[in-house]
Symmetry: C2
Subunit: 230 residues, 2 copies
Amino acid sequence: MCQDCGCGDPEIVPVEVHERLLSANDRVAHHNRAHFVEHGVLALNLMGSPGSGKTATLEAMARAPGANRKLAAVSGDLATDHDAQRLRAAGIPAATITTGSACHLDAEMVHKALHDFELDGLDLFVIENVGNLVCPAIYDLGQALNVVALSVTEGEDKPLKYPVIFRNADAVLLTKIDLLPHLGVSIRNFDDAIARVMPQPRVFPVSARTGEGLDRWLQWLDEKRIRADL
Amino acid sequence: MCQDCGCGDPEIVPVEVHERLLSANDRVAHHNRAHFVEHGVLALNLMGSPGSGKTATLEAMARAPGANRKLAAVSGDLATDHDAQRLRAAGIPAATITTGSACHLDAEMVHKALHDFELDGLDLFVIENVGNLVCPAIYDLGQALNVVALSVTEGEDKPLKYPVIFRNADAVLLTKIDLLPHLGVSIRNFDDAIARVMPQPRVFPVSARTGEGLDRWLQWLDEKRIRADL
């Protein structure tokens, strides 16, 4: 339910219903987080519009030179098992969370999905959220990091138009940069827009097709993992 | 609120709250529809992912050769007045509905915005929804037609992954087809995916940049308008 996305009408849905929902989610998220920490796994909530390149980036991470990180992932989608199929084909253990018509994942969905995974020995667990630049922004799933995938084809003003998700992000993956020569946009303008909404802007321009930029992104993840281990 | 997107937890939010919300929306949508019909205006609910080319297509419609249709539009966005500014610069009377953090427009937001427009003499009124391929799908706004803008950069499987919005659409605008030479996708595969979820598939491949395909799309709108007048 999305009333904490701000779309609730307080005259219709009582405030206590909102609070009950969010606090129930937060309890399960806390439990998920304890699981990840206990097993030394860095958990990532990967969000972004439909077609922003979330799955393609994970595939590219699996085939990156010297990739020796052990990844696993759950992919949230209204329908189909496509993303998890693609990830498994790339060698990443993956499962699907089918949401029906729900617009975001919640902590309970992730908790149930975790029962299918062996977390011991994993370096990174990616929760690939439902393609949506609005609703996933405010649901804690137990992740250590929030990352937004933003495709250069979506336009330079998207961080300004969807500020909530960017404000709460630890990093932005600026995807599909191989298409830049065919678009009237620039990385610099994306950077500027992101800097206006993100308190500590951190942008990784990447191309899943060419592999460009993946090294910096993977290095940052490795640093985050080492710090989490300390 | 999005529990009618299916993401509500019936254990937390009572069914009667869902029903009250939707029936309140439907009453206002009915009122909006009566307004549009009374003034002989074809109302369009234009939906799609962030960056799918909704605004760019409207701009292209305004500058299409022989464009003599009188359009007006409201653009829904969490933040910024960008889209309405772009539309006004293209000669389309336009206003913004700022939703804050809400993930879709509802009938009441549209109703309030309509007070700023003179509907008499208009041919087409476009309600440009919040960029989101999930939540806008099930809110009636009083429109005559539901149209989904899907960019070729989003990938061929999106109709299968977001079936609700495509199932309820009267037409799909397949946008940014000028980028096809740089992507590993085809119009045929998009058509196939759309045909699997849409009861009466109707797809208009268009490029706002080159103007390709706009003639067929505008012709279809004109036919719909004439029929609405009969």
